[in-house]
Symmetry: C2
């Protein structure tokens, strides 16, 4: 089932600006027994991003009701919320008065092997470089052609995630997740002011590091920094936290910091 502005629909008006320009945002949320995980974090990001794009943000209460309705009594599923600026305007120019659209979609929980989170993954390295776009960097907007091309490349490699760099060869993230490095107990993640998506779990982990009085750093990191890290992991709202055990010929420990952070995320009910 899909809800468009609260009503069951299978289709979207062809005037919608999501189709024409990717003029909108989205959130991908794990819903467990009717409870959307990290809901407040998702809504805070959505409201902040809408403000940045000049889109009238829908009332989170409506989105919550629609998310719960679409989840029904399923044990575990993925709910995707797409916010579109709606229809109208003239060409690229949006209408003065917004007609924000809400699309709430339900997806089966992905069948990632449990080992990915428990013993870690082997990651690929993408040959594709993310562009620099300070205007849109960090936002989970609907302009996702880069991720489509990255994921298309990854699909040929039979690995669950890939390390993605930007045009300056700084590591940024995975194809669908954020990246963390741990060295000497310090928790590090790439700055996303030029490229990348500021994931809800990434931001939660930075707060958790503070709460645990761990040293942490948002910075610029090279592939060498990754290879020299003690621990490496990817994270997102659905996969949770995937330790990286191997990238090319470099092996990483299934380290205590990754496992501790994963445990706290679960205890805080931010991931399953």
């Amino acid at each position: 089932m899909i809800l468009v502005n609260g009503k069951p629909e299978d289709t979207l008006s062809l005037g919608d600006r999501a189709i024409h320009y990717g003029d909108g945002l989205f959130e991908t949320i794990a819903v467990e027994h009717g409870l959307p995980l990290a809901w407040d974090d998702h809504m805070q990001r959505l409201q902040k991003s809408c403000l940045q794009l000049g889109i009238d943000c829908p009332d989170p209460a409506s989105l919550l009701l629609e998310t719960v309705e679409i989840a029904g009594d399923r044990e575990l599923l993925v709910v995707k919320i797409i916010i579109s600026r709606g229809s109208g305007g003239r060409g690229y120019t949006p209408a003065e008065k917004g007609t924000t659209g809400r699309i709430v979609l339900a997806y089966d929980w992905p069948d990632y092997p449990k080992e990915f989170a428990q013993v870690g993954i082997e990651a690929a390295i993408s040959s594709i470089r993310l562009g620099h776009n300070p205007l849109l960097a960090g936002l989970k907007h609907l302009n996702r052609l880069e991720q489509v091309l990255l994921s298309r490349e990854l699909a040929a490699k039979d690995k669950p995630e890939t390390l993605v760099m930007d045009i300056d060869n700084q590591v940024i993230e995975g194809s669908k997740s954020n990246l963390f490095l741990v060295s000497n107990q310090k928790v590090m993640t790439p700055a996303l002011d030029q490229a990348g998506v500021e994931g809800v779990i990434r931001n939660a982990l930075l707060k958790i590091a503070d709460e645990l009085l761990m040293e942490r750093q948002i910075g610029r990191f090279s592939l060498d920094d990754v290879f020299n890290a003690d621990e490496v992991f990817f994270c997102n709202s659905i996969a949770g936290l995937w330790p990286v055990r191997r990238i090319e010929n470099t092996e990483f420990a299934l380290g205590p910091v990754s496992l501790k952070l994963q445990q706290v995320l679960q205890e805080k009910k931010l991931i399953t």
Copy 2:
């Protein structure tokens, strides 16, 4: 009327990747008395762009039939063709077998005053900077949030077009058109290897300059280069060629090169 894969529709399946990721391309075509202008140029760009994104390009013959059908006997209109990678796949990862969708939409001819082409316009300067994305630069893809934000800014200024720079402060294009400078009879236009859309009329003008044995250059230009040019103009498939008469306090001549190029575009039936 809108045709989706040849059939009249008002809506698009909510599984379509154009909605979720902007996973597609588009062409905006002037159609005069049933004749799509610069048709071969549009189709060549579309085929090249599809190849670059790994999208199966629809048969241009089908697109031509659909364009002519939707144009009917209208004297002059805009036909927009959206090509989507279609539905399917898993998250960002496209399906192995493409299900390319064709969306053909008819729009009223915009009511630009004739003076824009005949005596020129006053252009704004955008405060928004285009990102750098060598992977996608030049393509007329569906990831157009930058243009939405540019156009939103321009709408508040009561000017028909705006000069847009990239994050290195190089001038790139307008919000909906390409930019040319003319100095000492030399025709110049910004390189679009980092940002911008390679317009059909831009590329036609470069060929025309060759045919007319005019010196021409694709290069990197600053705002100062614009202010120091003898002539400045914007161009696209619908507006045609708009000479720029003024930017802030700098006035430009309605110059002979701009008018000559405009005339050749009309004689070749590339613009109305």
